[in-house]
């Protein structure tokens, strides 16, 4: 491509030699910015252009190769992140770690089984009571809304509208002891050492 195009600089130099007898103050080339100053830099003509084009081509080829490599890597399946909890570290499988306790007696196993059964029925009663309480709650509310509707339709519509400010509802749960007034908690810093994996 470069061999075929005629560089305008070549034309320029040709014109310079042609017009010389007229002694017109004429700049030799655009590299010479003022008439009196010396040539500041070597007027390298054809070379920089070739380098630029070849460079551009080479750089583009390099970029394409990199992109292909990246695509290949992306196509490969993402590596699974190991779940730390499911992998027991090897140091805990040593035999010296196994606890040595006396075997359970027959009475003990019996007691445990009976306790489990008592617990099962206790929890079932608790659950039933909770469900019944929720049922009464809902019924009471429905009755209230029915009465309200009988009273006025617009009040009813205002009542069944969703309350936007209610959720997200946050509350600190109850503790074992009430807060101690004037308690100064000890100073300390918690350094998080969990390993973070990226896929």
């Amino acid at each position: 491509m470069s061999s075929k195009s005629v560089s305008p600089h070549a034309l320029c130099s040709f014109s310079f030699s042609f017009w010389l007898p007229q002694m017109v103050p004429f700049r030799g080339s655009h590299w010479q910015t003022s008439l009196l100053a010396f040539r500041a830099s070597l007027p390298v003509r054809a070379q920089p252009k070739k380098k630029k084009k070849v460079d551009v081509k080479r750089e583009q080829a390099q970029k394409d190769r990199m992109k292909k490599k990246i695509k290949k890597l992306e196509k490969a399946a993402p590596e699974m992140i190991p779940i730390e909890d499911f992998v027991t570290p090897l140091k805990y499988s040593d035999s010296n770690r196994v606890r040595s306790l006396p075997a359970l007696s027959f009475e003990e196993t019996e007691r445990r089984v009976l306790l489990m059964k008592k617990w099962c029925s206790f929890k079932q009663k608790q659950d039933k009571a909770e469900k019944k309480a929720i049922q009464t709650l809902v019924e009471a509310q429905q009755e209230a809304l029915k009465e309200l509707r009988l009273e006025s339709e617009e009040l009813y519509q205002a009542a069944i509208r969703r309350d936007e400010g209610l959720f997200p509802f946050e509350r600190d749960g109850p503790n074992y002891t009430p807060p101690l007034p004037g308690y100064d908690p000890p100073e300390g810093k918690c350094i998080d050492i969990t390993k973070v994996y990226t896929q």
Partner: protein
């Protein structure tokens, strides 16, 4: 008849709840089960690093006692044993004194205080004049046209507790209703009775020293409500109160 104005007067009442601050004590079955679970967990577990260290040191102590002059450890080096650490932790725990679960208000049975019965819900009751009777009720005011029932309930709360109350009202819908007819003496065609709609709210601000409490007020648990409320009213209120 459908276009005739309803003869019921509407009231909005607020049931303000102070949520529990401490956990309720465990039932007998719960305690037994918790102990059993701990035991089973212990049996299924392996020794931890601390326990291994403790066992090794006990072993060393025993060997040193049996063979009197066993000095293979460098003499003069003070070693902190695992048992010492455990004793130190025990001492630290005993030195800490937590706040009491049963407060002074509990002991005095001061029903106007918020620090009573920290493990259950407390409801607000105020003494109001209805007709010519002074009754203990949930704070209520009459509904005025132009406001929703929820704002009526908020107004009721503000009337009795002042403006600086932070309470989270649970939704726009009423939780319960108490309907009653006026006694025959004052009943008219337009004024048969009243409907009181209850709204529930959770008290967020922890101390009410700022609040200007007007008149008599009480903070009671659900079981103690029966001491103050009339039976019909109590029946309706109990339906929407858990615990």
């Amino acid at each position: 008849t459908a276009a005739a104005p309803r003869p019921w007067r509407l009231f909005g009442a607020m049931c303000l709840l102070r949520l529990p601050r401490i956990t309720q004590p465990l039932e007998k079955e719960e305690e037994e089960m918790a102990a059993l679970m701990e035991q089973i967990e212990l049996e299924k577990s392996h020794y931890s690093d601390h326990e291994i260290r403790k066992l090794k040191e006990e072993e060393q102590l025993r060997r040193r006692k049996e063979s009197m002059y066993d000095d293979d450890e460098a003499p003069g080096k003070t070693v902190i044993m695992a048992q010492d650490l455990e004793d130190e932790w025990e001492q630290k725990l005993l030195r800490f004194k937590a706040a009491a679960r049963i407060t002074d208000a509990d002991k005095n049975n001061n029903r106007t205080s918020l620090n009573r019965k920290l493990d259950s819900n407390l409801m607000l009751l105020v003494k109001q004049k209805i007709g010519n009777q002074d009754l203990w009720l949930m704070p209520q005011v009459e509904w005025q046209p132009g406001e929703t029932l929820r704002s009526t309930a908020e107004r009721a709360m503000a009337t009795f507790l002042g403006d600086h109350i932070e309470a989270k009202i649970l939704g726009n819908a009423p939780y319960g209703i108490y309907k009653y007819k006026f006694p025959r003496a004052i009943r008219t065609e337009d004024n048969v009775g009243a409907k009181v709609f209850f709204f529930k709210a959770f008290l967020q601000s922890t101390d009410l020293s700022q609040a200007e409490l007007k008149g008599d007020y009480l903070w009671v648990t659900k079981d103690e409500l029966g001491d103050y409320l009339k039976s019909e009213y109590l029946k309706k209120v109990n339906r929407f109160l858990l615990d």
